[in-house]
Amino acid sequence: MLIENIIGAFGEVVQVKIMLLMALGVLSGLVAGAIPGFTITMAVVLTLPFTFGLSTIEGLATMIGVFVGGLSGGLMSGILTGIPGTPSSVATTFDGFPMARKGRPGLALGIGVWSSFMGGIFSAILLMTLAPQLARIGLEFGPWDYFSLVLFALTITASLAGENLTKGLIAGALGLLVATIGEDDINGVARFNFGTDALKQGFAFLPVLVGLFAFSQLMSDVQDSATARKPLMEKGAKAVRVEHLAAIKALAGDWVNLIRSSLIGVFTGILPAAGGSISNILAYDQAKKASKRPQEYGTGCPGGIIASESANNATAGGALITMMALGIPGDVVTAVMLGALLIHDVVPSPSFIGEQPVLAYSIFLAFFLSNFLMLGTQAIALRAFLLVTRIPMYMLAGVILAYCAIGVFALHNVTFDIWTLFWFGMIGYVMRQLGFPLAPMILGVVLGGIAEVNLSRAVAISGDLTLFVTRPWSLFFLIIAIFSIVFPWYQKHRGRKQWTLGFLPALCLALAPPLFMMGGVTRPIVGGLLVAVGAWLLVSRHRQGWKLTAPVEHAARLEET
């Protein structure tokens, strides 16, 4: 079945036009990802309007190309200048930049590119095999479970998005409120239109997203006139020859690190809210701990680059697994990707992979092939990146603002969408200035409709609200939602307050009951394992006299970067 679907998708994707579009997408993503101040989300958002006129597979393949390219682009500036192009490649600079300064920039780039490639391929294989399995689990979900899943996605995004959890949760609630404006999906009644016809249809998702994210980001980038007028990179990165063979040898010699980091990347991506910006640090930390020569990390060690780059590219596959199988975007980039899919009439859900296997596998295959294209176009992207870095930020910002206006107009051919872009551009900018994270708001806008529809369905099926806590999956998501709310305090006080020692055992023990309630064989076994791990953690901490140990922090290094 898997092979049949892949062969079917192969015929759809492997066409000259689609491959060229994908290569163009990868190249755009690589260059945009390499520019500090630009994010992968920005690259994906700005490419989207160009795909409106393309067929579904052409458009999606292009978008996936941008996504993959963006993830790998950050390493170029990180290695050559010490400034990571995207948050996903922060840890790459820890060893990439020192290696480049030692006179081996070609090797550092080679290791980065090949690690990105291997991480991407690894996660693409897992995407093809795991997404259908997760979709099968998703078919078990009732509206109660979906509602709780959305709640969990919002709470974890709020808790991971910024320093202040309250601000994160407020941003999420504001996003949910924005999604209620206009005609509701269930009763067809206009809400909060304040007497205006334009608001009866509500806000289109993409202008809101482009405004909140791209417009406000550009305004933040040009806030300081002196900085905005300077070329993007004053350090003047020079073109180098990528040492492919030496890089492959380095990877072959550290394959355990490669696989471990790729796995960390995939599983971080599967979790809602935890994207490449987290996985690269996690993988770097684990690689350093597992290394026989941890003291070499930070001085130009190949293992550091391998860990960071394989993890951040693998995260993309993980994030796509959740989105394609459950229809729930895990972070802002996948929220934009979901928007791209919806524009092309593709609605990911648990039944989507089963009902439209060729289309689903075409998306998976496009992701797989994009990694090869990334490898092939890196040299061209490097040259383009060196050219782009000579342009001052204010020029890019001015041009992109006009482009945003044209792009959002092209969505529905209505001027109201440009007004939406303008208003949400201002809201996003003000929120940034006030320290509100935007990711929870964006997810709130995307997930608001899903939450409401499922709440309505749940109430329609039964008026019994206890079903939200008696259905195993719903209870499971509610428990992790509660723990995700406590997580910022746990992170803040870890190693300093004794209650933090009980956080992980409590999480393990709390998650076990819903798994037992699910029945079958595997899940109760997993539940039993969780009880065993929780009990073991409790016993070992009791034996150590609940002694606190300070966690290893990368904050100082991150600040330096």
Partner: protein, 159 residues
């Protein structure tokens, strides 16, 4: 200069007022005889959550105490570029029907670049070139390649 309240308190109060306005507006939502839950239930639930969170935020901000107020001049200098860009974008939007996307876009980019960058004759010429080429290229791609009918504007339609 020390303000009586801190910035977060002001934001929290604004959010509470915002909740009040939307809560009042939720009574304008039409009640239907069909559907299991009314169209006003979910928005009110969200508003309830937002109200509770804003109240928590208010208490947190009050506990932090007053903060240093940003001087008016500092505020304007700091946000000058953003205010000007949003202003120019607003003008672009208001004149869109008259100037159209092509002409309006070129003017917007030229003005934005000139406001953000240096204004020497050489730079102004570069800004004009960048504006014409970039907006012209984008307009051509969307009009001819993607077949999107962009607003033509009264000026160009007369010509």
């Amino acid at each position: 200069m020390v303000s009586a309240i801190n910035r977060d308190t002001a934001v929290a109060v604004f959010l509470l007022l915002f909740c009040g306005v939307f809560y009042a507006a939720s009574f304008q939502i039409e009640q239907t005889s069909y559907g299991t839950i009314g169209a006003d239930v979910w928005p009110r639930l969200v508003l309830g959550v937002l109200f509770v969170l804003s109240t928590v935020y208010l208490f947190q901000s009050v506990r932090m105490g007053p903060d240093e107020a940003v001087k008016q001049k500092g505020f304007l200098v700091r946000y000058r570029n953003a205010i000007l860009c949003y202003g120019l974008f607003l003008v672009f939007l208001l004149t869109l029907d008259f100037l159209g996307m092509l002409l309006g876009g070129v003017l917007f980019v030229f003005m934005a670049l000139s406001v953000l960058g240096e204004r020497t004759p050489r730079q102004l010429a570069i800004h004009a070139g960048v504006a014409v080429v970039s907006v012209g290229a984008m307009w051509s791609i969307f009009t001819f390649a993607l077949r999107v009918i962009l607003p033509e504007g009264e000026v160009l339609s007369i010509w």
